[in-house]
Each structure stands twice: as C-alpha cells, then as structure tokens.
C-alpha cells in the first residue's frame, strides 16, 4: 500500500518482476538519479525483526537487496516495510518515528508496505510487534541515513559535522545558519548505499518533535473518499471472478461431482484440478449462480464432536504440558493453605470475522506471478504460492494493499494460493473473494480452551498456593505476576492446534492465549477476594509488588472512582489486570444484569495502560477503544457452534459481534512512561474484557460465570441455580 492520490494506479500497474541486479534494484527504488538507500545487514537476525515461534511456515530467505528507506533527489523519504496496515495505524506511527530520527517534516515521509519485491523480508504483522521490534531497527536505519547526510553536508558546506545541525530536511551551520543545504541538494546526483552494521546513537525521547504527538492517520483521507485500495478492489483486464466448491463440513471428502449444469452456462469456465473445483466468470454474481448449479456429493466425517463436548475431548487428548513459570513448592503451599479453591474455566471457539473476507487477485505473466492479497504475512504467502505453482520464489511477488481487518486471522491466506492456482489454470487474472460463509468456515478460530486452577489462601487471606494448567490456549498470559510463594503454571498444547486436537483450524486471535488466561486468572483472584471479604482491588494490591501493575491499577481506580467494598456489592463493578506484549493493563467496568433474561449491559469501561513510550498517543487510545469494544464480543456473545465438522454460525445473523447499541462509556488512560521503550499497542486492553465483565456480573448479581462467552442464556442458567 502506498499513500497518496495514485495509490490504486501504482498498485495495479507496478507488476514487473523481482529485481535480480543491484542496478535493477536501484532503478526500482527510483534513485538512479541520486539518493540514499539504507539496507538491512543480511544475516543479522535481529534486523529481520522475527519472532521466535512458528518457524517452518514462514522460513523465508532474505534477498540480497533489501532497503529500509530511501531519500530521493527531491528530499522525500520513503520507508519500505514488509509490515502491513490492517487498521492498527502503523502507517502513521512508523512514519512518525522516521520523521523524528531523520529530522524531516512528517508529510515528507512516504510509506511502501507489504510488497515483497520492494520491502525487506518480514515474518508477518501480528503480536503487537511492529513498534517494539521493527521500530528500533527502522530508527537505526534512519540514524544511519542521517549520519550519511551529515557527512555529505560537512563536505558540501566545508564545515565539520560537529558544527552542523539538521531540521526539517535542511542541514545548517549552528554558528552561521545562512550556511545551509537541503537533503534534496545533497542527494542530487549522488547514490549512497549503506548497510546498518553498528548501532548508531538514537535520539532521546526529549528531542522528539513528531513522536509522542497525536497525528491524524496517514490513510484517513483515502479511507473516507473510497480511494483506499483493498485486495478485492484491484481490477485487471480480462479478470475472472472465481467461486470455489466447498465441502459442507470439515473433514468431508468429495464423492461425486457433476459440473454439467455450470458448464452449460454462457461464458462460465469450470476448472477442476485435484482438490480444487471452481467456476469462473467475468461477473462474481454469475460465478455464484454457476456454483449453485454444481452437484457434489460428499462423505461426511463420523466425528461426534460438537461445541458442548469439545472441552472433555480437549482434556482427554491434551499433550503433556510444559512449565511456563514456577516458584516455591506446591506441597508447601498446600500445607500452608487454610482454604482451597478449585475451578475450571472454559472458552469456546471465536472467529476473527474481519469485515473484509479473505481476498486475492492473481495474475501470471511470462512465468511470473503477481498476487494482491489481504494477508498479514506477504512473505509467507509468497513461498506458499511459489511451492504450489512450482515457481522459483523470486518469480512470485505478493503485494498486501490495505487490509479490511486481520486480528490474526489473515496470518493464513489460502485464498491467495487459490487465486494463483486458478490464474495458472485459466491463463487469465483471477479474483478470489471468500463469501462470508467461507470466511467463517475456513477461519483459523481462537481455540476452545480449558484452564484449571487450584489455589489456596492461608489464615490471613494471603494466597499461598497457585497450581495452574491451561489447555490449548497457549502460555501467553499464563505467567504469574502476583506474588505467590508457591506456584506453578503449566501450558498443554498451543493455540495453533495440531491436527487431531481440534476439528478445524485454529490460530492466533488478537492477543492469542492471553484473553483465555486472563479470564481464568482474574476470575479466580476475584473468587478468593470474595471469600476473604476483601475488596478485590485491595486483594490484588496485597499480592503485587510489581510497580507497573500497581500503577496501572491505581490509575484505573482513580479514573473510575473505585470505592472499596466487599463483593458481591450489588453495584456491578469489576476489575481485572494483565500483561500483553510488554504492556500493562488494568481495566474496570460497570455492568447491569437483567435478572429475568440474563442479559448484560456494560455501562462503563475504564482502562489504564502502561505501554512505555507512546509513539502516537491518539492512535494508541484508538487501539485501546477498539480492543475494549471488540472484547465485548468474546466476553458476551461470540462463539462458533458446530457439530460433526459442520459450522453453524456462517454470518452475522447468528454470530453476534459488538454493535453501536452495545457501546459503554469508554475512558482510557495512558500512564506516562516516555523514558521506557515502546511496547505493544494493538492488543493489550482486549485481554481483560472477559474477566472484568465476569467479575462485574458477579458483583452485580452474585453469580460466577466459568465459560466464555457469558451469553444471556448462560447467565440465566447460573441465576436459576442460585
């Protein structure tokens, strides 16, 4: 994606192949007339900003010529990043960082993102990692470029570097400000290439003029005028729209196929290649009609799994766990404990449900594939396409335009491979946009998961024992941050379920693992607080030495106006806290429960967050609000119902996502922490939403919900048991 008037045109027409020579690459960079290019050092793993997990799928090879940034002859700065923009706002925050480090105005930074031919290799955009891991490297590249500019300026102005200063793309002599030169003048006719090797000194936060200030989104104008291009908006001459035959259930096998009805239709192309059967037409609605004329018979799997018995199944098949954290000895804790609390927490499968379904447009020309795809991992998809088509990797170019939401679900991009295969089979450009039903069916859901906790408190109301097992949510967020002398946290399985565990695909869902673990831990803490008769905030503080966690809890309490009370108090107040991607979050909520129907209204949510240095505070707050609003869904309604591999929730009529009418009053607080490095911002506040609402429901009506989502039906059932 590229900001600016011509983004669509550029995207649709820059289709030439991967550069193979340095000259070709410099040409692609547009700097044959002069400019500065800063490369990453190939072979330095830290420069690739890669997370440690899920290696094989994304084991890409960095190319020889990968640039982070370019300063052109016009003095304009272009940032190249394999990261993609899916709404989280990095198109703005990365530009802010670059503008500061390079001393150029924010408006002269252009972003080119998610294009595998132009951008440095990147593992993918997820896990709130862009700002934390890519950000520092980008700043180093910028500092390197700045150093080059200073050297060039010293020569040009015949003044030593130490007397020079840069501001707004101009370098001048501090003692004689008329002695000056612009970046544009310096890059004219000069090609300078640098690799980031040493660590150049970075600016301290106190010198930032752009970072840390609220900035309007780079992409806002394009998005309010309809100019912003998403994968499905790419239109190529001769392009066909494909609809693909799908099984009725996961695990179903094709038994019989009759495509004659579709073949009779005018201008409809029917393609069959192994497991792939598709109909194509120049109009998507005509292709849809053709699909409905295909007769297919499937063998449906014999599995008896459904959304109710899944938890027993998961516990039965769970692998041995691995220890996440531990301290003391559980037996000692057991001896000290006067009261034991043993509970099991469940959460159902949850869909990503971005409003844009998985979409891709592919074309093949002269043995080279270009694929525009809504994907969070363009480089991973590139390899998958190369493998599937039998093409050398350098003959595949993947471009991720703006994404209409991802939330982890577009880390897997089968649709891009499908489009590429169909383009090869038909010899024409092919557009694949999954229907909403396909989107739900093939989603890599947030896994159903189970957490079992046995804890104990001593005679003084102090937690002395914490024995914690999480099944299939993963270890993120399971680590203990309360001060408990005897504890052990064990994680069995992972959110990326291997086959045999889940009846369909699972994968990362905004803050993977941490939503489940936070729901269980914070619910359980409240259960103990209630039993001791202590205020739940005070009870937490009694077990917390961590300064950051104490400070976010205090900040939330102050904003909320928390008045200590025994729970349940009848007020409907809840508190929960947690850590995600290095960011500390404390959330408080007020709910109202209708005792007759079990329906919950969340009236107010206050969230305080310590995310270190905030690059774009307005963008950070927007992410916090987004997390809180989205989190209402997995807390209250969102779950995938299924039986024997068939998914019952295939559209928004039965799968309820948060709406305007659910809106609580939302208040966000960014705890000031300019001097610590920036942490993740796209996920953290979502992690507390299950627990804070569960705790508020308990405070309101005295019933405890042990399963997410806390639907009106489940709440009513719990009320009936009282």
């Amino acid at each position: 994606m590229k900001k600016g008037e011509d983004s669509g045109r550029i995207l649709a027409h820059m289709t030439s192949s991967l550069p193979v020579t340095r000259r070709e690459f410099l040409k692609r960079m547009g700097i044959l007339g002069g400019g500065i290019v800063v490369y990453i050092s190939v072979g330095d793993p830290s420069a690739l900003a890669q997370p440690p997990r899920s290696g094989a799928l994304f084991a890409g090879v960095p190319h020889d010529f990968n640039a982070f940034l370019r300063i052109g002859v016009d003095g304009e700065v272009t940032c190249f990043t394999g990261k993609i923009e899916m709404g989280q706002g990095i198109i703005t925050s990365l530009a802010q960082m670059l503008a500061d480090e390079l001393d150029v105005p924010f408006v002269s930074v252009d972003m080119v993102m998610g294009d595998t031919d132009l951008c440095p290799w990147d593992r993918g955009t997820w896990g709130s990692m862009t700002t934390r891991f890519f950000g520092p490297i980008l700043r180093e590249a910028a500092a390197e470029a700045k150093a080059v500019l200073m050297e060039l300026a010293a020569e040009y102005l015949k003044t030593p570097v130490k007397r020079l200063m840069a501001k707004d793309g101009v370098i001048f002599d501090k003692g004689q400000t008329g002695n000056r030169v612009t970046y544009a003048q310096l890059t004219q006719g000069n090609i300078v290439e640098r690799h980031v090797k040493r660590k150049p000194p970075l600016k301290p936060a106190s010198e930032f003029t752009v970072t840390g200030k609220p900035f309007p989104r780079e992409d806002a104008v394009d998005k309010v005028t309809g100019k912003a291009m998403y994968a499905g908006d790419i239109r190529l001459p001769g392009m066909l729209y494909a609809r693909i035959l799908r099984p009725p259930a996961h695990g179903a096998k094709l038994k019989g196929l009759d495509t004659s009805g579709a073949k009779q239709m005018k201008d409809v192309l029917v393609v069959q290649d192994g497991d792939l059967c598709a109909v194509l037409h120049e109009h998507p609605d005509e292709a849809e009609k053709a699909l409905s004329r295909i007769k297919a018979e499937f063998d449906v799997p014999k599995t008896t799994l459904d959304d109710e018995n899944i938890f027993d199944h998961l516990l039965k098949v769970a692998p041995e766990g691995s220890i996440v954290s531990r301290g003391g000895m559980l037996e000692s804790g057991n001896k000290l404990a006067r009261q034991i609390f043993k509970e099991t927490y469940l959460n159902s499968y949850v869909a990503h449900a971005p409003i844009e379904t998985h979409t891709a447009v592919a074309k093949l020309e002269k043995g080279k594939a270009t694929v525009w795809a809504s994907t969070q991992s363009p480089f991973g998809v590139k390899e998958e396409i190369a493998n599937s088509l039998g093409l050398p990797s350098q003959n595949v170019r993947v471009i991720a335009p703006f994404l209409g939401g991802g939330f982890g679900g577009k880390s897997f991009s089968m649709q891009a491979v499908e489009a590429a295969r169909l383009a090869k089979l038909t010899g024409r450009p092919v557009h694949v946009a999954w229907s909403r039903a396909e989107e739900f069916f093939y989603d890599t859901f947030r896994p159903a998961a189970v957490v079992r906790i046995t804890s104990g408190i001593d005679g003084s109301g102090t937690i002395v024992l914490w024995d914690y097992d999480v099944y299939f949510a993963g270890s993120d967020g399971a680590e203990q941050f309360y001060d408990i002398p005897h504890h052990k946290e064990v994680s069995h399985g992972h959110w990326q379920g291997a086959s045999g565990y889940h009846p369909f695909g699972t994968g990362p869902w905004r803050a993977p693992g941490t939503n489940t673990n936070t729901f269980a831990r914070e619910s359980h803490i409240d259960i103990m607080a209630s039993k001791t008769g202590m205020d739940p905030l005070q009870f937490r503080m009694n077990h917390l030495r961590d300064r950051k966690m104490r400070s976010v809890l205090r900040a939330a309490a102050e904003k909320f106006g928390w008045i200590p009370a025994k729970i349940p108090s009848g007020r409907g107040f809840g508190v929960a806290c947690g850590i995600r991607s290095g960011t500390y979050v404390a959330t408080m909520a007020e709910v109202e429960v209708n005792k007759n129907t079990g329906a919950v209204v969340v009236k107010r949510v206050v969230c305080a967050q310590d995310m270190g240095l905030s690059i774009n505070p307005e963008g950070a707050k927007l992410q916090m609000e987004g997390c809180i609003t989205m989190g209402l869904g997995y807390a209250l309604t969102e779950e995938i119902r299924f039986k024997r591999g068939e998914i019952f929730d295939l559209n928004f009529d039965t799968y309820g996502i948060p709406r305007f009418s659910w809106l609580p009053k939302i208040e966000t607080v960014l705890v000031r922490a300019e001097d610590s490095p920036p942490q993740g911002g796209g996920e953290p506040p979502i992690i507390c939403m299950g627990a804070v609402i569960a705790n508020a429901i308990y405070d309101a009506v005295g019933v405890r919900l042990f399963q997410l989502p806390m639907t009106a039906k489940r709440i009513k059932e719990a009320l009936n048991k009282v």
Binding site: T225, G226, Y241, P354, F402, G626
Partner: protein, 160 residues
C-alpha cells in the same frame, strides 16, 4: 433478463443493458468499476455495501439494479463536491473514526442518510440509526462523535 437501465451515478448519467435482477453492489464494483461500496456479508447484515439511492441509504447487495431506473445513486466516491470533502468525511478524519477503513464508506453514507432525516440527532438516535452497520475494529465511539460533529457543521455551526 437483460433490460435497459438508466440512472445517475455520482452526478453522471449511466445507461446500461443488464440483467435487472443483478444486485447493485456487483454492478457497481465490476461493470462500473466503482469499488467504494464493499462486500462484507452478502445478506444485508453488515452495511459495508451501503450506498445512497435518492439520498436514502440502501444496502447495495440487496438492491436489484432494476430499482434504479430514473433514480440517483451516490457512492462514497461521489460524496465530496468539487474536491471539497463533505462535513462527515472531515469529521471522520478529525475524530480518527476509522481503523481498517473497510466499513467506513458504508458508515459515512448511512450517517448521511440519518442526518438528512434527522439533522440534530441525539447520541441515542445516532446509536440507534447506525446499529445495523458493523465495525470489527471497534471504532464505534469515534464514529458517533464524528456524526455529532458533522451534524453541528451541517446545521451551519462552526467549521470542523
């Protein structure tokens, strides 16, 4: 059945011969190359495909093109006049009332229709009026604020 359809699209006349039962969304996106309206659910459940038909918000994935005859369609591409953004567009930018942007065109056009019928809606009326439009990123709170701001400007109040 192919039939001749005439309507105005973003201030320009359109004359086409087309199967009148086809849904407006696909005719706009494929035949006419107007990609602002988005496919989100195909069943009229999300509002991403919202366009204006004679200034009323309609779901283009549920509107057969036959119904357009003699009428005027405005998509997000046609909302700005003479390069000047509509107050709603300005307000969405000002309030950061979008993230991924995929629901944005539908949100703005739905809000346009809402304000036309009720120029000074209360917060509750905005929430009620917008409830059928889905946003997955959770920008709701800012969208409500943006609509309030735009309503004030449209009423002749201060510039956004």
């Amino acid at each position: 059945m192919e039939e001749s359809i005439h309507f105005k699209l973003n201030d320009k006349p359109v004359n086409m011969t087309v199967d009148g039962q086809r849904m407006l969304l696909w005719v706009l996106r494929t035949d006419l190359g107007v990609t602002g309206p988005k496919y989100g659910c195909g069943e009229g459940l999300c509002g991403a495909c919202t366009v204006l038909l004679d200034n009323e918000a309609v779901l283009s994935c549920q509107t057969p093109v036959r119904e357009l005859n003699g009428k005027e369609v405005i998509t997000i591409e046609g909302l700005a006049q003479n390069g000047k953004l509509h107050p709603l567009q300005k307000a969405f930018i000002k309030h950061d009332a979008l993230q991924c942007g995929f629901c944005t065109s539908g949100m703005i056009l739905k809000a346009y229709s809402l304000l036309r019928g009720n120029p000074q809606p209360t917060r509750e009326e905005i929430i009620q009026g917008m409830d059928e439009n889905l946003c997955r990123c959770g920008s709701h709170i800012r969208i409500v604020e943006a609509i309030q701001t735009a309503a004030r400007e449209l009423k002749g109040g201060h510039e956004i």
